[in-house]
């Protein structure tokens, strides 16, 4: 069963297109990483899936229903972001108690254990928390709700490294105990990539890449060597990153469709191949120019 079906989804704010004919599907019980630069449309997409906003055109189905203003979707989806709002009149513990009344699958024991583990105080107010503590509290709500579709939008904002690690582990453990569909958007791909099964890469409101994370590392490869040599071996292949080293050497990241034989030949010609990390591939794929920031400093 597909949890999310998205066809030609477009969202226009004023004159800018936050989402531009976006199409993809997300299957049940997978953890998908939603990756993209700031302004790529990640939050807009998640808010449309959550039923808070409405697309300008195109089609979205969540659990086969139109999500906007849909009570059924609302009951089975939780969207956690770093701008959560909880009533100021309630203490932290009261917020958890209220959440427990709403969500059918809410695990109160888990909520309380996490609450104690991260040393929250039951009488404290949400507004009095630091940024990292707010994120941690949001995470507790998001995990304990055990919604069939759980979406975390930049969940680790402000968390220190230790808490981030705890969060990833808590997420994974609860996912194993209670499989559900999870979407995780984050700037720290290197931190979350081990948790993911699939990756959905957005660029300018469009789907740029949607593949299993395991395939991403083999999707592209780095080649280094003499500029002329590298250019010759790249041939017609898609280049996603170029960098000049010294005056006659070059490093290029290209689509990895070399055969073993070709690689062997290239090595003999003095080229070196190197694997490229997933997060680097994402950075290269989403950057505007092939050379990245270096292009800014090129003088004619």
């Amino acid at each position: 069963m597909n949890v999310i079906d998205c066809k030609g989804l477009t969202k226009v704010y004023g004159r800018t297109k936050a989402l531009n004919k976006l199409s993809f599907t997300i299957e049940e019980n997978k953890i998908t990483g939603l990756i993209g630069r700031n302004g790529a449309g990640k939050t807009t997409l998640l808010k449309i899936i959550g039923g808070f906003m409405r697309g300008t055109s195109g089609e979205v189905r969540v659990f086969s229903e139109e999500p906007f203003n849909n009570l059924f979707v609302s009951a089975n989806v939780i969207y956690i972001n770093d701008q959560m709002n909880f009533p100021t009149a309630l203490s932290l513990k009261e917020i958890l108690n209220v959440a427990a009344t709403f969500y059918e699958n809410w695990n109160h024991e888990l909520a309380n254990r996490l609450f104690d583990y991260f040393s929250f105080h039951q009488d404290h107010q949400y507004t009095g928390l630091s940024k990292g503590m707010k994120s941690t509290f949001n995470m507790i709500v998001g995990l304990s709700a055990r919604c069939a579709l759980t979406m975390f939008d930049e969940p680790t904002t402000g968390m220190d490294a230790a808490v981030r690690k705890d969060f990833y582990r808590a997420l994974l453990k609860d996912f194993i105990a209670y499989p559900r569909t999870i979407i995780l958007s984050s700037h720290h791909l290197n931190e979350i990539e081990d948790l993911l099964e699939d990756i959905l890469l957005l660029k300018n409101g469009k789907e740029h890449l949607h593949i299993p994370i395991a395939d991403l590392k083999e999707w592209a490869i780095g080649i280094e060597g003499l500029t002329a040599n590298v250019n010759e071996w790249i041939g017609e292949r898609e280049v996603i990153h170029l960098k000049n080293i010294g005056h006659d050497r070059m490093f290029a990241v290209v689509r990895n469709n070399f055969s073993e034989y070709e690689k062997q030949k290239a090595r003999e010609a003095g080229l070196t191949f190197s694997p490229v990390s997933s997060s680097d591939i994402c950075v290269y794929l989403t950057s505007k120019t092939k050379g990245g920031i270096d292009d800014v400093f090129i003088k004619d």
């Binding site: 049940e28 203003n69 009570l71 009951a75 009149a89 059918e104 069939a148």
Partner: protein, 245 residues
């Protein structure tokens, strides 16, 4: 995994209980406003005096009118308040859609109106006690029959509830478009000015006469309820396509 089923009624119930706790500030401000009303009432709503050479009489009339008026203003403001972004975001943090949100808001406002209406009328007793404690000369109070008192409560609650409906409608308009922040007071003042200019009162005054100068309680009740339903349902319809969070 199995998906949660939902019933609208169940969610409205949950939202309502949630809001009773979450919107506590609304009741706090009510207590404050009504105390202010009592304070203002101490001068009396009316006064007449007379006397001879040796005797002078000053008669002060005290009533809950000011407290009721303050409570209606509180009702309008509170209703506007719960339509604002911050409250809406609190609202949409857990399971809901526009319909359950509106319904639970209306239930909440009805509860607030009942509490506000009753306490407003009861404030006369507070005044009597205070007057007695402060030792203000002689005081007379007209005894009220139970049916009359009930009508008093009913009418006050209806006024307050109408206030929330008006406020909720204005608040919804503002959520749709910020232009209404200027437009609504503009139209309101405009109508008063136009009404004052014309000889026979104008539309605005006619409306007020039609609704409030009703001697039959049953008719008054029906008129207010129809008005309230109109206001709330148009608010609900207007906000149905509104985006949140």
């Amino acid at each position: 995994m199995s998906l949660s089923k939902t019933s609208m009624l169940d969610i409205i119930k949950k939202q309502y209980t949630f809001k009773l706790r979450a919107y506590m500030q609304v009741f706090m401000s009510m207590v404050f406003i009504q105390m202010l009303g009592i304070l203002f009432s101490f001068n009396g709503v009316g006064m007449s005096g007379g006397g001879s050479n040796t005797l002078s009489v000053n008669v002060h009339y005290y009533s809950a009118d000011i407290v009721v008026a303050f409570t209606i203003v509180w009702a309008i403001i509170s209703a506007i308040l719960i339509t604002t972004q911050a409250y809406r975001n609190d609202d949409f943090v857990f399971i809901t859609n526009r319909m359950s949100s509106n319904f639970s808001n209306i239930l909440f406002l009805l509860t607030a109106s009942i509490i506000g209406g009753i306490t407003a009328i009861m404030s006369t007793y507070v005044m009597k006690v205070l007057m007695y404690v402060l030792g203000r000369t002689e005081y007379l109070s007209s005894p009220i029959a139970v049916p009359e008192m009930l009508i008093g409560f009913g009418a006050t609650i209806l006024y307050v509830f109408l206030g929330t409906a008006i406020g909720y409608f204005i608040g919804t308009l503002v959520q749709l478009n910020k232009v209404f922040v200027v437009l609504v007071p503009g139209v309101f003042i405009g109508m008063i000015v136009l009404g004052a200019g014309s000889m026979n009162g104008g539309f605005f005054q006619d409306m007020i006469k039609f609704i409030f100068m009703e001697s039959s309680f049953a008719l008054f009740f029906i008129k207010i309820i129809i008005l309230v339903i109109l206001l709330f349902s148009s608010s609900a319809m207007l906000s149905n396509r509104l985006e949140v969070r």
